[in-house]
């Protein structure tokens, strides 16, 4: 299992997948498109976690699984670890913060062609579509190790992509 591909191919694939689902297949139904993208991410996460946990012993509790996602899983996918993990034990919510999300460093939001309000709206829409895929990956990975949860993501200060901060919020249904 060792063949490698250029990262730009991968970036192109994701961007094209999101735009295909968002603009061509389900152009009039954006939430259906987002659910499909999330489902693709779910299957990918499901398969990837099985592959990345081959050598290590199984997880004894939720926190260990989340820490595995933050460290090893994230470094396999994005070559870095999650920068900050916050939790609210009683409510069963975890917030993962990534300060430089690799897939967005090359996403270009074009602000020049339309007037200010329209471009702001479409840029956040485009990035929220892109966000469904990593949310699906996290949800799929956790569900394969037996933790069912809902994942949502929030991106702040997006146009300056060098420092885009992403928050993934995991809510456990217990």
């Amino acid at each position: 299992m060792g063949r490698e591909v250029a990262e730009s191919c991968f970036d192109g694939l994701i961007i094209e997948m999101v735009s295909a689902y968002g603009r061509r297949f389900y152009a009039t139904k954006p939430d259906l498109a987002s659910r499909r993208i999330e489902a693709i991410g779910f299957q990918v996460g499901h398969q990837l976690i099985e592959r990345y946990t081959v050598e290590r012993p199984r997880f004894s509790d939720h926190l260990e699984a989340i820490k595995f996602i933050c460290k090893e899983f994230w470094s396999e996918l994005f070559k870095k670890q999650i920068d900050n993990l916050k939790t609210n034990h009683r409510v069963g919510t975890f917030v993962l913060q990534d300060n430089k999300f690799r897939w967005f460093t090359r996403v270009l939001i074009d602000p020049s062609s339309e007037d200010n309000e329209a471009s702001q709206g479409s840029s956040s829409e485009a990035t929220s579509m892109l966000l469904h895929f990593p949310c699906g990956i996290i949800r799929g990975a956790l569900s394969n190790v037996g933790i069912s949860c809902a994942v949502s993501a929030d991106a702040s200060n997006l146009p300056s992509c060098e420092s885009c901060i992403l928050f993934f919020a995991l809510k456990f249904s217990i």
Binding site: Q47, I49, T53, F59, G146
Partner: protein, 135 residues
Amino acid sequence: MAGTACFIIVSKNDIPIYEAEVGSAAKKEEASQQHQFILHAALDIVEDLAWTTNAMFLKAVDKFNDLSVSVYVTAGHTRFMLLHDSRNEDGIKSFFQEVQELYIKILLNPLYLPSARIASSHFDTKVRALARKYL
């Protein structure tokens, strides 16, 4: 080499997704049904044991006459169970690890639905070859 050996893979939802008689002795009809029965009966014990330990390889969880059941549990709670009469634990552990590699390759197939039966004859051939090599 083990005389009798029966190998099954049980998925997370307790659905057997693969079964094979991989021993080198001659096959008898009633024996293979009995082997299946023994393995399925051992599933309860495996469930209990799996939650007590972090380890993936659980040696000899159950015995029946002179046959013992060894189990390997993955992170996604998929159980590889082997009914055998040999004492070669290292060989069995390597067998499980190699089968796990093959299983991951099946899983990575986007057209494979989780918990569906593994129908690939290629997988079957490879598992039998590994069994001849390690057991």
